[in-house]
Symmetry: C2
Subunit: 213 residues, 2 copies
DNA sequence: AGTATAAACGTACGGCGTAAAGAATAACGA
DNA sequence: TCGTTATTCTTTACGCCGTACGTTTATACT
């Protein structure tokens, strides 16, 4: 009955990811995406209910790129590898990365790393509740790190400006001396090292959740 | 020389925050915001170069709401109070909260809590680099928790769907058993308790950075 | 071959951010 | 006091967005 579809969800999502990588999120419009696929904007609506669904599909594509570590390497190393892989994927697709924070894994491929992580935690003695708790904390930390990093959040940190009028500059240094002192350090540090540091702190803390033997 | 302005940045930013709180981010358009201020959309452009600047101003408003703890309570308690206050503020303005992640504190009022935090860390013996590192990790964790929480990221977690065709449901349970087992726990937990848990883990880990005596 | 049906297309609508140009207003120098 | 001038505000309009709606096209089955 159906005409053989020239388009399909997969191809559209992949094209959307390509547009994102090459031109950024603001270039990802339905018309532009359709153009890249040599079709019309409305044709996309045969495969997705709306634009958000396209973005969701892109997120699943990204999540599927996260590697599921092999079993038998311990829960700490499993957690480390998953979070590192997630970070690698998001830095590979910086414009698409925010989507990972907006859509949880849903497809089997996208859930592969979750399954591997959960399994490793359960095998190590974490009960389901603690497993969820640990996963939550690790995800929150990783997403936050990503958000901060991609947003160039700490970049430059030009210190405060005078309230409104034309007060002299030095007043800033007098009001916020410690911001002035520490601020430059925020932009200077090595992101990967910072990430690993926080990751290790969390893993260490999580060990306390295990029934000690 | 200048006509006495009916509008000013502060009033506009406050009106924008009110719109955000009442109607959400998609309702915050220049036209709608102007309507609330009984003026025209273009009048706003005398006070802000573009819409993003309005959002930035709202972010500064939110950041200024974060309470700076008093000195003398120790760096751990200082960190805890700042992060708790930040969380309280963002949960009070859920629609506006993502802005906090997009714009770093810039105005003196918005930097007050940063100054208090930095000062406390420095007084406790953290050098500027370690202070920046600790701040980074705490902010990343808090922003990530927020992102996950506001996005209802873990809500429902309906497990995976069959690839495409009409495969039977039970196959999902067979492919991702641990996701099925742990998944429900993700939505069920107490967000505040989860937040405090991760916060304490981080603070404990940060103690290792101090020159032990 | 005929027909049902899903896919693709074209057009159109309301709304967005904001550029541009003119009108209105308040503070200042004379 | 009265232009002069710097600023705020208003009006109009442009190009773009997502997508509702109706039509055309191309397949697969009878």
């Amino acid at each position: 009955m159906p005409r053989k579809a020239r388009l399909n969800e997969r191809a559209i999502a992949e094209a959307a990811l390509a547009v994102l990588d090459a031109e950024g999120i603001e270039a990802l419009t339905m018309r532009h995406l359709a153009e890249k696929l040599s079709t019309s904007a409305m044709a996309l609506y045969n495969h997705f209910p709306d634009k958000d669904a396209v973005l969701e599909a892109v997120a699943q594509l990204l999540l599927a790129e996260i590697e599921a570590p092999p079993p038998g390497i311990g829960w700490q190393e499993t957690a480390r590898r998953i979070m590192r892989s997630a970070r690698t994927v998001t830095l590979r697709h910086p414009h698409a990365a925010p989507l990972i924070a907006r859509f949880p894994p849903r497809t089997p491929d996208a859930l592969a790393f979750v399954e591997a992580g959960f399994r490793s935690f359960r095998a190590a003695g974490f009960d389901p509740h603690s497993t969820a708790r640990a996963y939550r904390a690790l995800v929150a930390y990783s997403l936050g790190t990503l958000e901060v990093e991609l947003g160039a959040y700490f970049a430059a940190h030009p210190a405060a400006q005078a309230p409104a009028g034309s007060l002299d500059q030095p007043s800033v240094g007098r009001l916020l001396p410690t911001v002035d002192e520490v601020g430059p350090e925020l932009a200077a540090s090595d992101p990967q090292a910072e990430f690993e540091f926080g990751l290790n702190v969390l893993i260490t803390g999580l060990e306390a959740l295990l029934p000690h033997r």
